[in-house]
Symmetry: C2
Subunit: 258 residues, 2 copies
């Protein structure tokens, strides 16, 4: 099964963190146990799940760079069955700190393997920073598959070929089983022609890789993090909640078919 999922796209602001938090939250609603790993030095996923700065004692930095056991950095969130490895800005020194380490690309992969994470979690969701640097490579190296949030905007397609190239490189050098889970269209605005055009263009180019589920632009999604809650808790009946529940269902369905 595709247990470990990296949420990646080097284009900024496309909904990686929003997808990581809310897909994880929708998955736990189905009774599954999920570990969210925040690999972005901005720490937005940690903030969005209510982990205050003073509670980020053991973090992804300690796991990647200080070689601490992954389980030491896991903590609970307010949501039952959803745990997190938080991030701090220290992570931004990872590239430089690990430059001479031969195993720098596989640090996360090794940490997850050593922790025998499958024993306790049905899924692991990894939030990536907006770049194809060492942190995103580590996420891809550790993952079974990559889910790509794609904003329905003109610049969206620009970086896709580079992202897919990077996945191929990681598959060849580090993680032979790495798959593309799919592309999820985000911030879709049905009143806006550009949104429609980009969505059609992406489906024409990528076919089945593109999930049927589309995440609409919904202001409740951008409000939820300020209440330190996923959308399913902040506003369960919102279009954002319905969309991320549909995403979780489609993700589970596609697993079964794989």
């Amino acid at each position: 099964a595709r247990r470990i999922l990296a949420i990646a796209n080097q284009k900024g602001g496309v909904g990686k963190t929003t997808t990581a938090i809310n897909l994880a939250a929708a998955l736990v609603e189905t009774g599954r146990k999920v570990l969210l790993i925040d690999l972005d030095p901005q720490g937005n996923a940690s903030t969005g799940l209510g982990i205050d700065a003073d509670r980020r004692v053991k973090t992804a930095y300690d796991v990647l760079i200080a070689d601490d056991p992954l389980r030491d950095a896991i903590q609970r969130t307010d949501l039952e069955r959803l745990d997190i490895v938080p991030a701090t800005v220290d992570l931004s020194s990872a590239d430089v700190a690990m430059v001479s380490d031969k195993r720098r690309n596989r640090r996360l992969r090794d940490a997850l393997a050593a922790a025998e994470i499958a024993r306790d979690y049905d899924h692991v969701v990894i939030d990536c920073p907006p770049s194809l640097n060492l942190l995103t490579i580590n996420a891809m190296g550790a993952a079974d598959a990559v889910l790509v949030p794609l904003q329905c905007e003109f610049f969206a397609m620009e970086g896709l070929s580079q992202l897919l190239k990077t996945v191929k490189q990681v598959r060849r050098s580090l993680n032979p089983d790495l798959k593309i889970e799919g592309v999820i269209l985000t911030m879709f605005d049905r009143r806006n022609n550009l949104s429609q055009m980009v969505a059609e263009d992406v489906r024409r180019n990528l076919g089945d890789l593109v999930y049927r589920t589309v995440i609409p632009r919904n202001v409740r999604l951008s409000e939820a993090p300020s209440y330190a809650a996923p959308i399913t808790v902040y506003d369960s009946a919102s279009r954002g909640s319905l969309a991320y529940r549909a995403l979780a269902r489609e993700f589970i369905e596609r697993q079964a078919l794989a």
Copy 2:
């Protein structure tokens, strides 16, 4: 005068490229000559100004890493008085390629100095990637000031203190005259409470650093790049155009007062 401007914010998708392109375009409308330097491996500013992939022969990569003279990489855009140094994805290897180069932080600064750029341009605008890596450090090292686009969203404030810390570090180690030009609020949606709250919060915290001009969310701004034109050309009467012209005027006004 604050001639060289870095447009920076490590948060993704906040309007860095949109601000770089459209502020530059509004400045040339006032008769000034502007050079835009695309320092983002995504190359969105180059695409947004119509520089097709096959025309990106000499790029920012050649200037930074191959040490080619900056003037060799300058080319015209369709807009009179607006020239560009384009970017390609090669730039993403800059971190690794320059890791052992002692002058790696000041490559762009040295290249601009050697080119005596002030002779031909009133302003240089540098578009940065969504990170505080070597490329953004080079932009800050070369700049007279940093302009920070800030999206009116909850996560916006999260990374600001780190960004300001980085500016201080660059000021101490590399560029003693580096100033903060200011913060420009982007994608402001007056119908949305969160937008209003964030804008008020930012003004309370940062006072005069925040420009009076606010860039509204305007779909014409996201359409313009698909026509390879700045907003002032694509839709001169749009709210996006009016906002970026107001930004250019306020920028010029603040220069005179400085």
